[in-house]
């Protein structure tokens, strides 16, 4: 079980202030490697060397809060990122997007927007702010880049909901999370089948364990894995506590 990576220690004390982008990238890449997501994060960190997907957030500090509200805000944060991603995918379709692919990606966009707005409404005045995504590392004109990022987001969403389940106290919220996570898993399977049709990848050995189980990942590790995709600095230390 990996603990939160301590930024101060790992970035080399005050030297961190003059760390080059390369150094930060290296550090954050190894931080990514240290998360339970393993290969997912490796893929994300290495997917595009021309950009730096892991520059720390330059936006606001956002605290998800504690207890069940913290879990709901955590879900709301992830759904915001997913919704923003698919809105961009449909606004600027990649070259050669087929009608079938566009229909699938439009459906997924709609589901994520519904999830996002549902959590916002459910949280009311306890909802975190609208986050500022950072998709600079994703080349939205390329099919491989877009579907690769979609796979990452969906697999991460599944692992996040699976890991959050036991943190939820109100059984009604647990059921709601269950209603959403299986839809995220359906997305993950279909995206994976678009990338590698008719293969075993829809529930691939790269993501499932030897018991035939999906991942369940704690909030701290998920937040570390997605920090490169959001400008705000999200803290979730009290989620579910």
């Amino acid at each position: 079980m990996n603990k939160n990576t301590d930024t101060k220690n790992s970035s080399g004390k005050r030297e961190g202030e003059i760390a080059s982008v390369v150094n930060r990238r290296l550090f954050l890449r190894s931080a990514g490697l240290a998360t339970s997501l393993g290969t997912i994060v490796i893929a994300a960190a290495c997917s595009d060397d021309d950009h730096d997907p892991m520059i720390p957030g330059t936006g606001d500090a956002v605290d998800l809060g504690s207890g069940d509200i913290g879990v709901l805000n955590y879900a709301y944060a992830l759904e915001q990122l997913e919704a923003a991603f698919y809105i961009q995918v449909i606004t600027t379709p990649y070259m050669g997007m087929s009608d079938a692919e566009k229909a699938i990606l439009t459906d997924i966009r709609d589901h994520e927007v519904i999830h996002r707005d549902f959590f916002k409404a459910a949280l009311g005045d306890k909802a975190i702010k609208g986050l500022t995504p950072n998709f600079g590392a994703i080349d939205f004109s390329k099919r491989d880049a877009v579907l690769g990022a979609a796979k990452l987001f969906e697999d991460t969403g599944v692992a996040a909901y699976n890991g959050a389940g036991k943190l939820i106290k109100d059984p009604n919220y647990l059921l709601l999370a269950g209603k959403i996570v299986s839809v995220e898993a359906r997305h993950a399977a279909v995206i994976r089948d678009l990338i590698n049709p008719k293969s075993a990848d829809f529930a691939g050995d790269d993501i499932l364990d030897a018991n035939g189980m999906d991942k369940a990942v704690a909030p701290a590790d998920i937040l570390a894995a997605v920090k490169g995709f959001v400008k705000d600095t999200i803290t979730g230390a009290n989620v579910g506590k």
């Binding site: 079980m1 699938i104 459906d107 709609d110 589901h111 927007v113 519904i114 999830h115 996002r116 707005d117 549902f118 409404a121 459910a122 599944v158 909901y161 699976n162 890991g163 389940g165 036991k166 059984p171 009604n172 647990l174 059921l175 709601l176 269950g178 209603k179 959403i180 996570v181 299986s182 839809v183 995220e184 898993a185 359906r186 997305h187 993950a188 399977a189 279909v190 089948d193 008719k198 293969s199 075993a200 829809f202 529930a203 691939g204 499932l208 364990d209 030897a210 018991n211 035939g212 189980m213 999906d214 991942k215 369940a216």
Partner: protein, 263 residues
């Protein structure tokens, strides 16, 4: 099988797991191999830790045996389907082999977790008392039933989450299986849609669209968290129903699965 991962999992539940294993190992070495008592210590210590990890309430045991019944059903179904000559086209073999592998793994996991409390495997009638007479000779029937079984599995696990809240580690395992069933369901639905020529059937469930309509009752629900989501974000009713999967009670699932199980 990654022993360190297993021990890590137990460590989360039982902080002293490593200590007890070390104690057992020390005794083992101190007594040398000759002592049968000492060599028995490791498995005993391990078993007690395993027991603690799966220290199920009576309710959790019921849920796990219920899950095992459904996994036995799925496992046997894919074993028979994958073995039936000429049933599954070569293009789709990889998919059903992968699904079948997971169901076998789920059965093995549940049997191990339940130990002596595991139910024995029922005998199955996959023709569903004649309703699916050509189940293992007609691919269209096979994918129809596959999609229905997977979607029912998703609904079944979802319906039990609340019953496992007192057993957080078991809840987590159940969730980890639940999302795999959903991955299976998405792909099986798309294969079934192609075979049935039904473009309205997608990887996600629009309204209560599915190859066996009877099992999708309630999937068209629009109310979440006590609020009717009609018109949310200006999205269609279809999209709202797709965005949320709905649970089934154990009674409803057993009513669906019942005809598959020989009395």
């Amino acid at each position: 099988m990654d022993i360190f991962k297993i021990i890590d999992k137990f460590q989360q539940i039982d902080g002293d797991a490593i200590g007890r294993l070390e104690y057992a190992s020390r005794r083992h070495f101190m007594n040398r191999i000759g002592s049968k008592l000492a060599s028995a210590a490791i498995p005993m210590a391990f078993a007690s830790i395993v027991n603690k990890a799966f220290a199920q309430s009576a309710g959790a045991i019921d849920v796990l045996n219920y899950a095992l019944t459904l996994e036995y059903l799925e496992d046997e179904f894919y074993k028979a389907g994958n073995a039936a000559a000429g049933l599954i086209p070569a293009s789709d073999k990889v998919i059903f082999t992968q699904i079948g592998k997971h169901e076998t793994q789920h059965v093995a996991f549940l049997v191990k977790a339940l130990g002596a409390k595991a139910i024995t495997k029922p005998s199955f009638d996959f023709t569903y008392k004649g309703g699916f007479a050509d189940i293992f000779s007609n691919y269209k029937t096979f994918v129809t039933v596959s999609s229905a079984l997977e979607d029912t599995g998703v609904r079944a696990y979802k319906g039990q989450a609340g019953a496992l809240q007192m057993d957080p580690q078991i809840l987590e395992y159940a969730l980890q299986v639940h999302s795999v069933e959903a991955r299976h369901a998405a792909v099986a639905r798309r294969l079934a849609a192609a075979q049935l020529g039904n473009p309205a059937m997608k990887g996600w469930i629009t309204g209560k669209e599915g190859a066996v309509p009877a099992i999708y009752a309630g999937e068209e629900n629009m109310t979440q968290g006590g609020v009717n989501l009609k018109g949310l974000a200006s999205k269609s009713d279809a999209a709202v129903t797709e965005a949320f999967d709905e649970p089934l009670t154990k009674e409803a699932v057993l009513a669906i699965a019942g005809p598959f199980i020989k009395p």
